[in-house]
């Protein structure tokens, strides 16, 4: 890798990519470590897919949050909005006129409504995003408890079928203790994660909007000077974040099948942590959407590892805090080393770039 860096011009590996690379390497190392220490469980493909199956809502939320964070903002209402959506869907599905299409519309509607409200206030009225999304969190929590307080288990036939539906990969699987072959199963939520990841990542990578978001997050003043509509860009990032929170809510209820006051509570902090582990900076302008699932998976693998190691429940939080500490310090050290190296090789390009070639050609004759 180092040799590639030397030959290629410096600008090729941006901060977004190097942070993403760190995250990816850490994830792979983490998973290898998990496989080595617990080969029985982590070697199964189903374990890997279950990370997606059970945590699809968190990954989806992290995707939306990453876009907002690249744009230089923050959205801490996503967990509460997700919980509100699950409860609204559950109430709607249990009512007489419940239908799955209607539930999807409700979840998208709630998500977009929160996105538009917060986006308008933050982008066009220039209010601090933390305060607005914090009050969005209060609003969603309050609406949730106003709507219904007790847990609802959805019993509608069509929905139960959707909940229990999963794609079976017949050629991939493991034999259990009795020697019976069990194929791998993938929940629809995982498919939604993949589709959303592809759409949003390509949106951020190649579309004009995505590049505007990076520009605005990097420096909103110079973005404005370049003629980018800063306010609209910021507004759209929050709408996307709200939308993904709505989708996450529907996926959540599709996974658990119940509306509960505690659904997705505290998910915003998990999402922020995953986004950061995935290499998105809170300052904005730096980040790679592919890092969002990687960050989430790293966090989840840590939790799974702690659980598999049989650590006492009250130590789990401490261990995950310690590992978080490790990642954060590692990221910061790598970034600062990189800066230092750049400073030390601050030679003009005509000295640096063809350096080796020149020396070689001089020696040849």
């Amino acid at each position: 890798m180092a040799s590639v860096n030397m030959i290629k011009p410096k600008a090729r590996l941006s901060n977004s990519n190097i942070l993403f690379l760190i995250a990816a390497v850490i994830f792979v190392l983490m998973y290898l470590f998990a496989i080595i220490s617990f080969p029985g469980s982590f070697l199964q493909f189903q374990t890997f897919f279950d990370l997606f199956n059970l945590n699809a809502p968190l990954i989806i939320m992290t995707l939306g949050l990453c876009i907002v964070m690249i744009g230089g903002g923050i959205d801490i209402s996503i967990g509460a909005v997700c919980g509100l959506v699950t409860m609204a869907c559950a109430v709607f599905l249990e009512s007489r006129m419940g239908s799955i299409g209607g539930a999807i519309l409700i979840s998208l509607g709630i998500g977009i409504a929160f996105g538009i409200l917060q986006g308008y206030l933050i982008a066009y009225l220039e209010i601090q995003p933390f305060i607005i999304t914090l009050s969005g969190l209060f609003l969603a929590q309050g609406l949730l408890t106003t709507l219904h307080k007790d847990p609802i288990n959805v019993t509608m036939g069509a929905f139960v079928r959707l909940r229990d539906f999963d794609f079976v990969i017949s050629w991939l699987g493991t034999k259990n203790r009795l020697g019976v072959f069990i194929p791998c199963e993938i929940k629809p939520g995982t498919i939604i994660v993949v589709i959303l990841l592809v759409i949003l990542a390509s949106l951020m990578k190649w579309s004009r909007f995505g590049r505007n978001v990076y520009a605005v997050g990097g420096n909103s003043h110079s973005a404005m000077m370049l003629g980018i509509n800063v306010k609209r860009t910021v507004f759209i990032t929050y709408v996307i974040s709200g939308l993904t929170a709505g989708i996450a809510g529907f996926v959540y209820i599709m996974t658990t099948g119940a509306g509960n006051v505690g659904n997705a509570a505290g998910a915003e902090m998990k999402a922020i942590a995953s986004a950061i582990i995935g290499g998105t900076l809170l300052n904005g302008g730096v980040g790679n959407l592919l890092g969002a699932p990687i960050g989430t998976l790293t966090l989840l693998v840590i939790n799974e590892l702690i659980r598999a190691a049989g650590v006492q429940s009250n130590f789990q939080a401490m261990v995950s805090g310690l590992l978080l500490y490790f990642f954060i310090v590692l990221q910061s050290i790598i970034m600062s080393l990189r800066d230092r190296r750049r400073v030390s090789i601050a030679l003009p390009p005509w000295l640096r770039f063809p350096g080796k070639g020149q020396v070689a050609s001089q020696r040849q004759p």
Binding site: I132, S135, L322, Y325, I328, S332, M335
Partner: protein
């Protein structure tokens, strides 16, 4: 007159909100200010508000400093307070006979722990250049289980006369003790800012760390110092909270108070991206939040709806305070002024008002 307006303009928002809330309370019932004397101490709405908001006030002072210097927020304050108060409770319970000396030593011990936790966050932020919210995420994740481990059992009970008096009233003094402690703390902080250059340094670092460094101020040191002060604030807040409650509940003690503290900082008119700050504003903001919570209870809103009302109130408040709305209000006022000019001085008036606007932007 003009300088008066300049120096107090940032307090207009929090004070007007406080007044609005008090007016709402007075409309609900005229006996809002009534104070009764029970067992030689004052009780009533105002003392209760001062009593209830004491931890929040202390934490919001620390949060103001951290926000101003490091351009980010510490989200682990509730957890730090829980850990430091757990140490305090552990020390007091181990001591056997509880004397004033034991309490003081325990408090100093918890202050040391608070400073250590502040230093942990501060090193991450200043040396490793991690964003404050991320750096404190670590303690936020693991803090409560550390406190739980120190506790040993679920919630040790602090049953002795002295901590009971610290939590409620000392006989002979008519004011509840947490209020006195808060006032003492505020006075200490005020003395600190009157006698040192800390305010100038913190503001300089918050506005532009690189410029501060070029001017001979070490931003790392200043940021680290603000986190140390934050750690001290969390220790004091934890001390008050645990004495108030009478038992150490490591799961729920000061839970999610960082949201309220950040909100207090914002209501106080401080920008959350660092720079200039006003501690007075934050203190008023903290009391405003307490008044808001108690007003919602007093208006007998359904418990399930309280958060909705709180959210709507905060959103409306922020809309009124937002720079865009303020600018448009000022424009509208200018238009009114220019429409009925006195002796043809319309141009002058509009010029003065635009100068005003430019001056305000320059600040």
């Amino acid at each position: 007159m003009r300088t008066m307006k300049r120096s107090f303009s940032h307090l207009v928002l929090p004070i007007s909100i406080l007044l609005l809330l008090i007016i709402i309370n007075l409309i609900k019932g005229a006996d809002y200010f009534s104070i009764t004397v029970v067992n030689g101490a004052f009780y009533g709405n105002i003392p209760n508000i001062l009593f209830g908001a004491s931890e929040l006030v202390i934490l919001s002072i620390g949060m103001t400093l951290v926000t101003a210097a490091s351009r980010g927020q510490d989200i682990s304050i509730g957890e730090s307070a829980t850990i430091s108060s757990a140490v305090f409770v552990l020390f007091v319970l181990q001591a056997g006979e509880v004397t004033l000396l034991v309490i003081v030593v325990g408090f100093l011990l918890s202050c040391v722990v608070g400073l250590a936790l502040g230093a942990f966050n501060g090193i991450l932020v200043s040396v490793f250049k991690v964003q404050p919210m991320i750096a404190s995420l670590i303690l936020f994740t693991g803090g409560r289980s550390i406190a739980f481990m120190i506790d040993g059992k679920l919630s040790p009970i602090l049953a002795n006369d002295i901590s009971n008096q610290i939590g409620t009233v000392i006989p002979g003094i008519p004011i509840q003790t947490p209020i006195i402690l808060t006032v003492v703390f505020i006075v200490c902080i005020a003395m600190l800012f009157k006698t040192t250059n800390l305010r100038l340094y913190v503001e300089t670092v918050g506005i532009n760390p690189n410029a501060a460094r070029l001017n001979g101020i070490n931003p790392k040191k200043i940021i680290f110092l603000t986190f140390l002060i934050m750690g001290f604030c969390t220790a004091v807040a934890g001390f008050i909270a645990v004495n108030k409650a009478g038992r150490h509940d490591s799961v729920n003690l000061l839970k999610l108070i960082m949201m309220d503290a950040i909100l207090a900082v914002a209501i106080g008119g401080n920008p959350l991206i660092g720079g200039k700050f006003s501690i007075t504003g934050s203190i008023i903001g903290a009391y405003t939040i307490e008044v808001l919570n108690r007003t919602l209870l007093r208006l007998e809103i359904e418990p399930a709806m309280i958060k909705v009302f709180k959210a709507v109130f905060i959103i409306m408040l922020m809309i009124i305070a937002s720079p865009v709305v303020r600018a448009s209000i000022r424009k509208a006022l200018d238009r009114v002024r220019t429409k009925n000019p006195t002796k043809g001085s319309a141009a002058m008036v509009s010029m003065v008002s635009t100068m005003d606007m430019i001056g305000e932007k320059g600040e």
